[in-house]
Symmetry: D3
Subunit: 135 residues, 6 copies
C-alpha cells in the first residue's frame, strides 16, 4: 500500500527519466528502489531530493561512505522509518559493513536510546562545560 | 531543575564512589558529568548503566571511537535529548571531530530526517531486494 | 494483525451501533474504517474518541476542512503512524487536496523535519523576541 | 518563555475561574500549575483538556492512581516532554512512589527504549501468535 | 522481511542455545519469539539483551509484573515499535490484564500523548515546585 | 548553551554575509534569528538550508503562507523541537494567525497525537480502500 499512485511510465516524463538515469549511473545498477518511484509523482520533489542525496551520500567528503550510512541508519531507527532502515542497512552492507560492525551498530543505537530516555526521565541539567559558546 | 535530588556526598556510598572513580580513571579526568550524578540516586542503575557505556564506548572494537560518537549523536538528535546531544558533541570533539566533519554530520542527520519523513508520508512499500532473509 | 480482537457484531451493542450510525451519517457513507472497528472493543473509548474527532474535524470552525487534514497528516507523519497517514491522506484527497498541494505538503514536512533536527543538533538558544509572554 | 501570553486575571473569565476552582477542589490544593495557566488562553481548550484529565486520572478505576502516573511518565519520557516528566514525577511521588520504584521505572523505560530501537533496527517480523484477532 | 538473515540452527552455537534454553525455562514455554531469533545473529548482543530483560522483567521487584508490562507497552507505543506493542500486549494479557484495564491503558496513553503535545506546543515553563533538587 | 560557537563577525565571510543579507531582504527586517547564526559555522550548510526555506516558505505556491506555517508548527511539535515551535508560532502570528486559530491548531495537534497513539497501540490494520495504488 502507498499514499500515492505509482507512476505509469518513468520514460514518458523527461524530468523523471533524467533523475532515474542519473540514479542508475551514479549507483552503477539498473535498480531504482521504491522511494524514488513514489517521489516521481512530483518531478520537482524527485529532483530536489535526489540532488541532496547525491551531493551528501554519493560524493567524496570528510566522512567515509560507510560511516555516512551508519549515521543514516541511526537516525532512521530513532525516527522509526522501516523503509529507510531496510534500504540503508542494505546500502551499508554493500559498502562493506561486516556482521560484527552491524552488531556493534545495533548495540550502540540501543545504548543511546536507553541513555536518551534516562536523561530525559531524570531531566538532567546541562553541565556548563558542554557549552561550545564558552570562551 | 531535575526530577531527582542530587546526591549529597558521592564519597559516602561505596558503590557510587567506585563507579565515579572508574569514570575518572577511564576518562582520565576528574570531571563526572551530571548524568552520572543524577543516576547516583540508585547505585544499581548507576552501576549497570556505566558498565554498558564503558563496555561499548570505551573499549576498542570494530568501529573507531569517533564513529561511535557520531552514531550516538545521531540517535540522540532524533530522540530529542538535548543533554545527550551536548555531552556527545563535546565527546566527539575531544576525539578529534573537525568542524567540517561536524557540518557534514549535521547535513546527513538533516537529510535522513527529511527522507525518513518522506518515506513515512508516502508509505513507500518495501523492495523485496532489501530483505536480508532472502536466499 | 492487531492487539485487540475484532468485535463480532456491531449491531448487538447499542452504544457501538449508535456511534457507527453517527459516523455513517456524519460522513455520508456506509464505510466505517478499521480504527473505529478496533476502538469498539470498549464502548466508552469509542464514544469519547469519536465525539472529539467529530467536534474538531467535522464541525465548521476557524480553519477550513482541508487545512485541518493537512495538519493532521503532518502530526501523523512525525509520529510515525502509518495507519493515520493513510486514512488522513485519503480524507484530504476527498476534501479536494490536489496533486500539487500534496507534493507541497510533502516538501514542507520534509523541510520541517530537517530544520527540527538541525535546531536540536545545534541546540540553538531561543531568541527572546519569540517569547509571547513579553510585554 | 512560552508561545502564548499568560492570562492576566484568572478571576475575570467565569469559565476559566470554574476550571481553576475545580482543579483546586479536586486536588485539594491552591496551586494551579503552569500547563493550566497556559491552556487558559482558550477556555474551550482548557475545559475539554481538564475534563479528560479529571475523568481518567482523578476518578477511581481499574488501575490504581500510582500505576496511572507511571504510565503517564513513561509516555511523556518517550515523547520527550520535559514539562510533563517533571509534573507527573512530582504527582507520582505525591501518590506514594518510593525511591526504589522510581529507579525501577527508570530502568524499565530505558530497557524498553533499547529493545524498541533494536526491534526497529532489525525490522523483526511479527510472530503470528501475537495477533489478538486469531481464532 | 528483516535486516538480518535468520540463524540456520539455534542448536549449533552453544551460546545461542544457552540463551534460548534459558528463555524457555524462565517463561515455561517452548516458544522463542522472533526478536530473540533476530538478535541471535550476534551471540553477545543476544546474551546481554536477554540478561537485562530477565533481570528487570522476570525477577520479583518493587513493581508487580503486570505494572511493568503496562509501562513497557506505554514506552513502545510512544516510540512507535509495532513489534514491541504486539509482544508486550500479549505478555500483559498473559499476566492478567483485563479488557477494562487494556481500555484504560489505551485512554491514558492517548491522553498523555495529547497533553505532551499541548505542553510542547505551548512551550509551558516549568513550575519551580516540580524541581526535586529544591530544599 | 549551544553545540557550536557563535560566529564572531557575520560581515567577514562573504558567503555568510550574502545569506544574512538575503534573509533580511526577504523578510523585510534587520533581525536574523539564532538558527541562522548557528548554521553560519558552516557556509555551505547555511546556504543550502536557507535556499530550501526560501524556496518553500517564502515563495508563492499552492498553499497559502499561513497554512504552511501551521503545517510547520505541527511537525515541529511532534518532533519536540522547542526552538522551532517558538519561531514558527511567532511567524504564524506575523502572518495573521488569530487566537481562535491558534487554539484550534492546538486542539487538532492534541487530537492527532491521541489517535496516532491509539492506532499504534491497537496496531490497527490498514483498510485496503486507503491504498492510492489501487486501480
Amino acid at each position: 500500500m502507498s499514499t500515492v499512485a505509482p507512476i505509469k511510465d518513468s520514460q514518458s516524463d523527461p524530468r523523471v527519466k533524467a533523475v532515474f538515469d542519473d540514479i542508475r549511473a551514479t549507483r552503477k545498477t539498473d535498480f531504482v528502489n521504491n522511494l524514488w518511484q513514489a517521489l516521481a509523482f512530483d518531478p520537482t520533489l524527485l529532483e530536489t531530493t535526489w540532488a541532496e542525496v547525491k551531493r551528501l551520500m554519493a560524493t567524496p567528503s570528510t566522512l567515509d561512505p560507510l560511516t555516512k550510512e551508519l549515521i543514516y541508519i541511526a537516525v532512521s531507527v530513532a525516527n522509526g522509518c522501516g523503509y529507510c532502515v531496510h534500504s540503508h542497512t542494505a546500502a551499508a552492507r554493500a559498502k562493506g559493513m561486516s556482521g560484527a560492525q552491524h552488531a556493534e551498530l545495533m548495540a550502540i543505537i540501543g545504548l543511546a536510546a536507553k541513555t536518551n530516555h534516562l536523561a530525559t526521565a531524570l531531566q538532567v541539567e546541562l553541565d556548563p562545560v558542554f557549552d561550545a559558546g564558552r570562551q
